[in-house]
């Protein structure tokens, strides 16, 4: 079997599962099992593709899809080391999440729909990863956006969920518009949208290429929840927790990072790269500061995801594309793991507020261990995958010469290890909290996928020494280089142990304080958008409504009123007196005669 055939199978199988749910009513019961088996098959297929690509080199196959003028849009499959390894990551997390959901979502009213939507998402995400041309990427990009919308609003009978899904859809759409304009710029200046053809075209140093790069980056900012457009991701936590793990931690939000790495040849201009770096740093820092003050476990993880995506963006901005992608892979595993562990906590105590929980390590041994593994990865503890990838990112940023960026990211490392261990110590250690007595460990169908993810989060260490993306991307740092960030990370853990592990100094004691409120309410960025953009929009709508009501409707009604008035006037002539009618006739005949006479005089 050739690699391209395997790739087509990977696309077709999950789509078939989705169509089965949509089109065949009696096959409803089989959907979850089919979706899970498809994910295992696709996992094997994507591993096979990666092997083929590493052994045999990149695979390109496609056809001309649209032809207009001198432009030709192709569609097809592009498998190189980057896309094949990303595909494997997607299907690993997707398979783990699908098995986990058997436990987590079981008994839900729309259990089968849930699996159908997950399959559609996995299809779209695979399509995005292995697309040949950027227009194809854009289509799948929108499809994953739709899946994200549908899955955030999966429990749409809850008002918060439906609002969050709409918010996510609209905010990411802002970036997508810029992405699409970027594609048009590329098409007009390079006559093609094929990724490989663009990579080999001349003139990548031209301002057009940089403009397109910037516009595509704005698209990635929307999708990857970078700083000004990050507001949708915390709200997206209203969806089911496994969805957060798959879409809003591991795969879809990383699509922006993946896209930038995919079109890295456009980012030759250092000023464009500087913008990417700056946005990444700001996002990484701001999100980790906000995460420190959040009380809901999933919100902490959401801001952590935003922050880690900021690290990836920073690596891309520094030109260390392979390092950014490396961090994407490790992050996909350990963040999905952390989310699933949070799901277990919710499963056990029916609350995600860290002030409600406590001492859960006695009841949830597996969950606590797995959460600890995820947390150590996130904090960059030595000998975890997270350690190597984070050090790679920091090394890449330092090597690019932006020392200020490097130090800011070190500060971010401290905050990261603090907030995640704050959650760990608060939830799993100490005195028992709410619902402690009824808490019980999740079934093994939920634990085993998490164990697999934990193993893979260690497995990514391997990538540090044999990076599949390119030879030059091997990790270069020595352990001396890692000392500052390692120190920051350990100090963060220690600080979290003192404040939350020993319950000496909990931030929540200052809940009423204005500064705490400022950070807890996410710097009031959402409220700012609410007032400025939604308020402005409402003002505009009001103005348009006024114009519609009083000027357009006024004109229409005015015509009617004038007609009625004229009718009332003219009605009086029609008195029904035949003699009067005759008189009118006579008058007009007389006038006609005068007119004819006057005409006759003219000639």
């Amino acid at each position: 079997m050739s690699a391209s055939l395997a790739a087509i199978l990977i696309l077709v199988l999950p789509l078939l599962v989705f169509l089965l749910r949509v089109a065949v009513p009696f096959a409803r019961r089989q959907v979850p099992v089919l979706a899970s088996s498809v994910s295992v098959i696709n996992l094997v297929l994507s591993a096979y593709i990666l092997y083929e690509v590493i052994v045999g080199g990149a695979v390109l196959s496609g056809f001309t899809w649209l032809e207009f003028g001198k432009y030709r849009l192709n569609a097809g499959i592009f498998l190189d080391k980057l896309s094949a390894s990303m595909l494997l990551v997607v299907w690993l997390v997707a398979a783990a999440v699908k098995f986990y959901s058997f436990g987590y979502m079981y008994g839900d009213r729309r259990f089968e729909d849930y699996y159908a939507l997950l399959s559609l998402f996995a299809f779209s995400m695979s399509g995005l990863v292995i697309s040949l041309s950027l227009i194809q990427v854009f289509i799948f990009w929108e499809l994953v956006g739709v899946c994200s919308f549908l899955l955030i609003g999966f429990w749409f009978d809850r008002n918060a969920a439906s609002r969050a899904s709409i918010k996510a859809f609209i905010v990411t759409r802002l970036g997508d518009v810029a992405f699409f304009v970027g594609l048009l710029v590329l098409l007009l200046s390079f006559d093609t949208l094929d990724i490989t053809a663009l990579g080999h075209s001349f003139g990548l140093y031209l301002p057009e290429a940089s403009l397109a790069a910037l516009l595509i980056f704005i698209g990635a900012v929307g999708k990857s929840a970078q700083f000004p457009l990050h507001v949708w991701l915390p709200d997206a936590m209203e969806g089911p927790t496994p969805v957060s793990a798959l879409i809003h931690a591991a795969t879809m939000v990383a699509a922006g990072v993946y896209l930038i790495a995919r079109v890295q040849f456009l980012f030759v201009d250092t000023s464009v790269r500087g913008i990417v770096l700056a946005i990444g740093i700001v996002t990484a820092l701001v999100a980790s500061i906000i995460a420190v003050f959040q009380r809901d476990i999933k919100r902490v993880l959401a801001f952590s995801t935003i922050s880690q995506l900021g690290y990836m963006m920073a690596a891309l901005g520094a030109g260390a594309f392979a390092y950014g992608i490396y961090h994407l892979y490790t992050h996909a595993f350990f963040k999905a793991l952390l989310f699933l562990a949070a799901g277990n906590v919710f499963h056990a105590v029916h609350s995600l507020d860290i002030t409600d929980a406590g001492g859960l390590i006695k009841k949830l041994k597996w969950t606590a261990t797995l959460f600890l593994i995820g947390a150590l990865n996130l904090a960059g503890f030595p000998l975890t995958g997270g350690f190597f990838s984070k050090e790679s990112v920091l090394y890449g940023v330092k090597e690019s010469g932006f020392l200020w960026a490097y130090y800011l990211l070190i500060a971010g490392v401290f905050l990261t290890s603090f907030y995640i261990f704050k959650v760990f110590f608060r939830v799993f250690l100490g005195a028992p909290g709410k619902n402690f007595e009824e808490a019980h460990e999740s079934p093994s169908v939920m634990i085993v996928p998490m164990v697999v993810l934990a193993l893979f989060s260690f497995g990514t260490i391997f990538l540090a020494f044999a990076h599949p993306l390119n030879e030059a991307a091997r990790v270069h740092f020595s352990f001396n280089e890692a000392i500052p960030s390692l120190a920051a990370s350990l100090v963060g853990i220690l600080f979290a142990y003192v404040t939350y592990g020993l319950r000496k100094f909990e931030f929540e004691a200052f809940a009423a304080h204005a500064i705490y409120e400022f950070f807890y309410n996410r710097l009031y960025i959402d409220e700012f958008y609410e007032v400025v953009f939604l308020g402005g929009y409402r003002l505009l709508a009001k103005a348009a409504g006024w114009i519609d009501r009083y000027i357009i409707d006024g004109a229409v009604n005015g015509v009617a009123h004038v007609s009625i008035f004229l009718g009332q006037m003219v009605k009086r002539i029609e008195s029904g007196l035949v003699q009067l009618y005759l008189f009118y006739t006579l008058v007009f005949v007389f006038l006609l005669a005068l007119w004819l006479y006057w005409l006759g005089g003219r000639f």
């Binding site: 029609e574 008195s575 029904g576 007196l577 035949v578 003699q579 005759l582 008189f583 006579l586």
Partner: protein, 103 residues
């Protein structure tokens, strides 16, 4: 001489029109109509011979006189029937054909 006759015809028509517009009695309205009609015939008899054959003119005038007589007979008969039925000849009272229109 012929101009005097045309002026007389014009006077006849004017008197007929005045009667038609001002009289309220149906019998006088029919009478006025006949006056206008006869003014027309008078003009025909006076002016056509200069253009066409005289015999044609005379026969046409006789035909028109017969039509006018028939019309008058009908008109008066109607007026008499209405007067008998509604006990009035006032055309402002006889407004059944006008229909019920709100004013």
């Amino acid at each position: 001489m012929i101009e005097l006759a045309v002026v007389a015809a014009a006077f006849m028509a004017a008197a007929g029109i005045y009667g038609l517009l001002s009289r309220r009695n149906l019998a006088f309205v029919v009478l006025s109509l006949e006056l206008i009609f006869n003014a027309g015939i008078l003009l025909l008899v006076l002016l056509l011979p200069s253009a066409t054959n005289q015999a044609d003119t005379v026969s046409a005038a006789l035909l028109l006189l017969a039509v006018g007589a028939a019309e008058v007979a009908f008109g008066f008969a109607l007026a008499v029937v209405l007067a008998r039925k509604y006990r009035t000849s006032d055309i402002l009272v006889l407004t059944q054909l006008e229909g019920k229109v709100e004013r």
